[in-house]
């Protein structure tokens, strides 16, 4: 097992004919992901290095058997593309695109909920299940298969922590980038639920950052519903209030959304929080060895 993507994934990439979409889509294929289709309106019938391109995601589902959609469409066209994916019949939609207006995502979020489709992102690096499948832009070379599930708002920070885990001789069941936008399809809680149920995952590393209250909500959920150990890291202790720190969602509003409050909420529920990515990986390894 692993979560969200794996051997059963049949991937359709919206935007496969674009520069970024083809680069990453083909990288995912080279890793072993079953890339069954590309989707670009008006380019149906073409192919990208042998991968058939369809006009719609629905066609990719009926013609090529796609069950997972990855969205690599420019920001101002991305919300309609996600909506199309939600209605197409796929089970999972992974949106990589950064810069989608938040109120568009708000509507899209509820469409996905209603349709029972799992939406990951937007503004995320995707999902990697080491040794099985990679959907997104996560560089797979820094991650080995193993018992630690990772869920994170950040890309590079996760690569940093993953690489330290690999150097310590361990690895991951899956790595899920949930994204750095104010509204994302899946929050920490949604992914914690999946890891809790996944027999291959023995413990969880959660990487959060300033803004919103997803970490505080996760702390409550962990105390109530998660039996596996969770180790966390929070970025942004030095971020000033009112300033957006790169991610659209990484902003302290007044006195809410601070790193200190998140750390406190997690520690109050018994979650150990590392001071740096290095210390977080070290704590994870220590916890794992104690299991």
């Amino acid at each position: 097992m692993s979560i969200i993507v794996g051997g059963e994934t049949k991937l359709a990439v919206s935007g496969l004919t674009g520069r970024e979409g083809s680069f990453h889509g083909l990288r995912n294929k080279a890793y072993g992901t079953d890339l069954v289709a590309g989707v670009t309106p008006g380019k149906g019938g073409q192919d990208v290095e042998g991968v058939p391109v369809f006009d719609t995601i629905a066609e990719a589902v009926t013609e090529a058997g796609a069950n997972t959609s990855m969205i690599f469409v420019p920001a101002r066209f991305a919300a309609p593309a996600i909506d199309e994916a939600i209605e197409s019949g796929v089970e999972t939609v992974i949106a990589i695109t950064e810069g989608i207006p938040v109120l568009d995502m708000l509507k899209t979020y509820w469409k996905a909920k209603e349709a029972g489709v799992r939406l990951i992102g937007p503004n995320c690096p995707g999902v990697l299940s080491p040794g099985k499948a990679n959907v997104g832009i996560i560089p797979a070379q820094f991650f080995d298969p193993g018992p630690i599930g990772v869920v994170s708002k950040s890309g590079t920070l996760t690569y940093q922590i993953g690489n330290e885990l690999k150097q310590a001789g361990t690895g991951n069941s899956s790595i899920v980038g949930i994204g750095g936008d104010p509204i994302v399809g899946s929050d920490f809680i949604d992914i914690l639920k999946l890891y809790e149920a996944d027999p291959e995952t023995e413990m969880i590393v959660m990487v959060g950052e300033i803004g919103g209250d997803a970490e505080e909500r996760a702390a409550e959920f962990i105390a109530a519903e998660v039996s596996k150990p969770v180790v966390a890291y929070i970025a942004g202790f030095t971020a000033p209030p009112g300033k957006q720190m790169g991610h659209a969602g990484a902003i302290i509003s007044g006195s809410s959304g601070t790193a200190a409050a998140k750390k406190e909420a997690l520690e109050a529920k018994g979650v150990r929080v590392g001071e740096s990515p290095t210390e977080t990986a070290a704590i994870a390894v220590e916890v794992l060895r104690g299991l």
């Binding site: 920001a75 101002r76 989608i100 207006p101 938040v102 109120l103 568009d104 708000l106 509507k107 979020y109 509820w110 690096p125 832009i137 996560i138 560089p139 070379q141 820094f142 994170s152 708002k153 950040s154 890309g155 590079t156 920070l157 690569y159 940093q160 690489n163 750095g180 104010p182 509204i183 990487v207 950052e209 300033i210 803004g211 919103g212 209250d213 997803a214 909500r217 890291y233 970025a235 942004g236 202790f237 030095t238 971020a239 000033p240 209030p241 009112g242 300033k243 957006q244 720190m245 790169g246 991610h247 659209a248 969602g249 990484a250 007044g254 006195s255 790193a259 740096s276 990515p277 290095t278």
Partner: protein, 387 residues
């Protein structure tokens, strides 16, 4: 992107919400001329992006031309520090508006609730003061209701909220209409936060927005031409320069210049530098797939901040290739005189090649460290005491 009070009020007026009429002024003379035109009493209000202006002396009521000049003279150019220590914010503009005959002061807002994935309407009969304090002291005084994203938010919905908040009976209809219009501003202008404090009832029983705090979603500016023009005006010279070069940069107060790739890693780098006893001068995310040119641009921006006494490059290459970063550093050092030590930590994709390029270039004042923590300690040591 936050709007100044008068920009928020202009947005309200566009959507039919009553606001006092007024004029914006950049100088004391302009302010006095505006006051003469509007008549007395009039309010002279500092236009800065921070709350607590009244307490800081940034809002005064003038009864005649003499007072208008005296207050404008005091407010234009003053520095205002926010309630959480933000700033200081220099007052470059004042807003002059007609004095209002206030009978009641309420609070109304529509904000994005990220956790619930819905817009949240909040109303209180206790307006005109710090709403967080009101909510902490008397939670029942602040009525909070989510707006159902799947259907229209009606006047009837809004009326139930303002009635529950205990607003005056004869103001309920007008207040409900304002609340619906605030939700319309949120939806049509891509505002993630709209706060009116106070929302007043005048002696004539009109409901008027006496203040406006509006935050527009920066990702939606492509469909709001007028708001996009406001976003183009940035006060800070480094932030302006970074914007022109397409970099994600936030100016901070310290002396350690920082560049990292990825927002999360960059925030983490700031934290680790602070833990090592240093004070970060900025946040700068070089982004994924950074190329040599981006590195040159980034160094120019960081270096233009005179406070910077040492710079840290913390790169974990994923999509970003460390050899590209190294080439960028070598190119940049040929084009600009850094004049301060540069600590570089390269790890991840093509890091060996990157390290080799840097070693061969043998740049003066360049220090390599293997880990993020060692790099942070080194740069703090080289930067010297906090400025």
């Amino acid at each position: 992107m936050d709007l100044l009070e008068y920009q928020g009020k202009q947005l309200f007026a566009k959507h039919g919400i009553a606001v006092p009429s007024g004029e914006v002024a950049d100088t004391v003379d302009e302010a006095v001329a505006a006051a003469e035109k509007i008549g007395y009493p009039c309010a002279i209000k500092a236009q800065v992006l921070i709350g607590g202006r009244g307490k800081a002396g940034g809002i005064k009521i003038a009864k005649d031309a003499g007072e208008a000049r005296e207050y404008a003279d005091a407010i234009v150019g003053m520095d205002i520090v926010g309630p959480h220590g933000e700033g200081p914010f220099r007052v470059d503009q004042v807003w002059i508006e007609g004095g209002s005959d206030i009978a009641e002061e309420y609070y109304a807002s529509v904000i994005l609730d990220r956790g619930e994935k819905k817009l949240l309407a909040m109303v209180s009969a206790k307006g005109g003061m710090d709403i967080e304090a009101v909510a902490a002291e008397d939670p029942d005084a602040l009525v909070k209701r989510h707006i159902d994203p799947t259907r229209e938010f009606t006047v009837a919905d809004a009326r139930a909220i303002v009635a529950d908040a205990g607003l005056a009976e004869d103001a309920l209809d007008a207040a409900a209409e304002v609340l619906v219009k605030l939700a319309t501003v949120a939806a049509e202008e891509d505002a993630n936060l709209i706060e009116v404090n106070p929302l007043i009832v005048t002696a004539d029983r009109d409901v008027v927005a006496l203040d406006a705090k509006v935050t527009i979603d920066g990702n939606a500016l492509f469909r709001h031409q007028e708001l996009a023009e406001i976003a183009d005006t940035v006060d800070d010279p480094q932030e302006q320069m970074a914007k022109e070069k397409g970099l994600t940069y936030v100016k901070l107060d310290g002396n350690v210049g920082i560049l990292a790739n990825g927002a999360g890693l960059c925030m983490s780098t700031l934290d680790v530098v602070a833990q090592a006893g240093g004070a970060p001068a900025n946040f700068l995310d070089a982004g994924g797939g950074s190329k040599a040119e981006a590195i040159v641009n980034a160094l120019e921006v960081i270096k233009s901040d005179a406070k910077v006494t040492a710079i840290l490059f913390n790169i974990f290459g994923g999509i970003t290739r460390c050899d590209e970063i190294a080439k960028g550093i070598v190119t940049a050092s040929g084009q600009i005189d850094l004049g301060v030590p540069l600590v570089v930590r390269l790890d991840g994709t093509n890091s060996e090649e990157g390290l080799r390029i840097l070693a061969e270039a043998d740049l003066p004042n360049l220090h390599q460290e293997k880990t993020m923590l060692d790099a942070a300690r080194r740069v703090v040591e080289l930067a010297g005491g906090a400025s």
